[in-house]
Symmetry: C4
Subunit: 194 residues, 4 copies
């Protein structure tokens, strides 16, 4: 199996997830600006999830750019990642509609955590398939950023019950951490092209 | 007609079906963890259907990887398959929202059965087009796994009225049976590449 | 502009339209088989529209397979066609939910008619661009089937007020007329490949 | 990163946005023609947004046809554009359902303005990456049409409170201005191919 069809399918699912979230912005019946006010937290959580899905799309692309072959295990590891990402519209809406309440914020973090674990499994499945000396293995390296994210999501879940603002702040912080494309893989690809 | 456009269209439809199902996870108004409890059966039936659609996407890909030409008959056999798969979100939600009641479980099985029959017809249409000595004919062979699935779906429909748990168990069992990519076609493809 | 991106975009829109229609099959709260009974006309109109969209996808593909270049006019003629097709989910649901009432059946026919006109305009725009001696011009020829469809849709609209069943019967008849891929273009393509 | 995957992802998101808007055309329960009357403004705003998204798809394609490389900055500039376009279904429905009230019309214009700014940023990011002597830099030139649009959107927002019809008229006028594919880039591409 070539990576192209797996990438196309993943792109399709990601494009739909990202767009479906906007359906939670329910059109108000009133025509005053104040009618948009209750939508503000929904919009903010939409922006956060939009950025997260953009990050996943970006990193997913970098990952498969350095991948040569797709095995059955990689295919299912990829579907596993898409499953957790497909829950983003639900957790985004639940958190948004309740203005950062404790439980919805914790569940939002739980799905972020599971998606990050799924991404990590996918990464390992690809490295196992390509070999430890492969381009991708060197490119990913120890994946420090990935591990820091896991720890921060894990910490955010109980902290949501102390204050949802701490959890929310951590989610924004991790997003900022990832906002740039991964220089490690890009550097490796450049080395190869030299 | 090349297989690439048919595959791209099928991928698009499958990606949308898989993602639309998640819209049935209605966002609760309460913010307690207990508010998620009634969603649990919906989530479980979503997981099951997600896996089934992943299996269909996977097998569909293997099937067309070994296909050279697309005739009008194959095109409509493929649309016929997509039609039954497009009913998955409906049957998944009906079964999920009623916590494994008899009739919704039976109807879920009926749509699984019709999709399996549609897949079988598609397989036969491709083999008829490619010839009995073709790569795909040898790869599919007697398709024992496909036939076992048909029998189990067929059995599950009346058994849902004895106990929906038996039917549900059979659906899970068939999914596990298919979870791995089909070794027959992969083996054939490897032979060819030798 | 290459035809490939236009085809990919059209495929995407068609895949979404075809799948969005299924959202009108509202999940019933009851668990008896009788709960599905009011959904039957919705399901039937869904099947009809599914077949129509399959036909459009099929013919659209044949059309662009014989097209070499995309001009600005062709691009907008294509978007115009997609616009009318995007109204299918609305008219399908309105007709289905009211069990073949006169006005919804007439409006369903009106959108079918406008889509057929849009397809005709697209065909002419391509022929104007490719030249009267081009492959596509010869393949389409006088397009008798297209003209017959236009007349039948046109007739069905007022006839819906005599009896919605006549209109419905005409829609089914035209669908059957088109169900097979267009032999004219296929024949032309074969000639070229000889 | 090649432009092809970025284009495919953008096409997917645009195709979904364009189709999701139609879900706001809520199916009426009555079967008289008069039941469609309250839907007329929704339909008209749908047509306008459909044309705008068609224009964006068209211009986006022309832009990337003349682009050689995708940097991280371009990727996020593109996601930023998609974000504002993803709000079209919301503003379209709000404006449509309230028959051109002042505030919804102004908010519709605000999102148009932000999308236009996002497009401008994307254009500049590409030019910065490709160099000031690149094909794209010469093709875009001073982008007079883009600047006129920005001014008109900016003017329309306060004018919506004088009369929503002035704002609506300006939105239609800008759409007509863009309806044709950009001759500048096409001319440049032709020059190159000579």
């Amino acid at each position: 199996m070539k990576t192209s069809r797996l990438e196309a399918f993943s792109d399709g699912v990601l494009a739909i997830i990202i767009t479906i979230m906007v359906l939670e912005l329910k059109v108000p019946h009133a025509v005053e600006l104040s009618a948009l006010k209750p939508l503000l937290p929904v919009l903010l959580s939409y922006v956060l999830s939009f950025i997260y899905l953009g990050i996943y799309w970006n990193n997913h692309h970098h990952l498969f750019q350095a991948t040569e072959q797709v095995s059955g295990g990689i295919l299912w590891a990829n579907l596993h990642l898409l499953f957790w990402l497909s829950l983003f519209p639900f957790t985004t809406a639940w958190m948004g509609e309740n203005g950062l309440a404790a439980m919805p914020s914790a569940v939002y973090g739980f799905v972020l955590l599971m998606a990050a674990i799924a991404y990590y499994i996918l990464e390992r499945a690809i490295i196992a398939n390509e070999g430890r000396d492969s381009l991708i293995a060197q490119a990913v390296g120890r994946d420090r950023k990935g591990k820091i994210s896991l720890v921060l999501y894990f910490a955010a879940i109980p902290l949501a019950f102390v204050s949802p603002w701490i959890a929310g702040g951590l989610y924004v912080f991790v997003a900022l951490l990832w906002l740039m494309p991964d220089p490690r893989i890009e550097r490796q690809l450049e080395h190869r092209n030299e």
